[in-house]
Amino acid sequence: MTTPAPFEGRVDRAADPVRVTAQGDLDIAHEDAVVDAVSTAAADAACTAVLLDLTDVTFMDSSGLRSVLRAHRAAEAAGVRFVVGVAEGGPVVRLFRIAGVAGWLDYA
């Protein structure tokens, strides 16, 4: 059996915008981790923008999509600009298009 790509999240507070990187499979098991990472970064008074980097996400379903939309909402509530980084032709863009949400987000 193929081993699922393990999920990994990283935060770079020294970057501008603050970069939250998600790698691996983004599903129900990791939905809250992404939201928490973005919310925490956006809560920093010095933070004006957050980039959620999904370039290396290997799989995303509606739980992953929900994490992105919740993170977007949390950043906006904190008055912080929210952009996502995606790989054209990758699983994230494919899911955004299937779900019809590609136009809901700003891209890096």
Binding site: M1, A29, D61, L65, R73, I98, A99, G100, W104
Partner: protein, 161 residues
């Protein structure tokens, strides 16, 4: 038309089980890469749906069956949860729930039925063109290989729940 069982799987109704179900789809020699991408997404959505709606009982399980024939791939996910409906139309930006079944309906036929004290959710995906044979890896690439797997309730991995 020959129908083949790809696998049957019983999993604990917890979040880590979703990745286990996907991994079995990914590794199936009976599916082309193009078909596996769609089936993996449908399986992930429907197992997730069952996990979200499962009872609080930690012994609750989700069952997944996948079969293929010459023209289509049929998946059935069974749970013991309460009945649920399927939203008509696309969820909106202010309602981040409801995307799972919507997504499945974009890529497959979807049928939700009440079965005893639980739900039986069936998806059907048409197989990709005749030029796309089974993937090269696996048991000699035999599309008829019925890899009858059975993961017990203790094998769902150790991820967060």
């Amino acid at each position: 038309m020959h129908e083949h069982l790809v696998f049957e799987l019983r999993l604990p109704a917890r979040p880590a089980s979703v990745a286990v179900a996907r991994a079995l789809v990914r590794s199936s020699a009976a599916l082309t890469t193009a078909d596996a991408v769609l089936v993996e997404l449908a399986v992930s959505e429907l197992v997730t749906n069952s996990v979200r709606h499962a009872s609080a009982d930690t012994s609750d399980v989700v069952e997944l069956q996948l079969t293929v024939d010459d023209e289509r791939i049929v998946g059935v996910v069974r749970d013991h949860g309460p009945p649920f409906g399927v939203l008509q139309g696309q969820p909106d930006v202010d309602n981040t729930g409801g995307f799972g079944l919507y997504i499945v309906r974009q890529i497959a036929e979807l049928r939700v039925e009440r079965e005893g004290a639980g739900n039986a959710v069936t998806f059907v995906v048409g197989r990709s063109g005749p030029g796309n044979g089974p993937r090269a890896h696996g048991a000699a690439g035999d599309a008829g290989c019925a890899c009858h797997s059975s993961a017990g309730t203790g094998s769902g991995g150790g991820g967060p729940t």
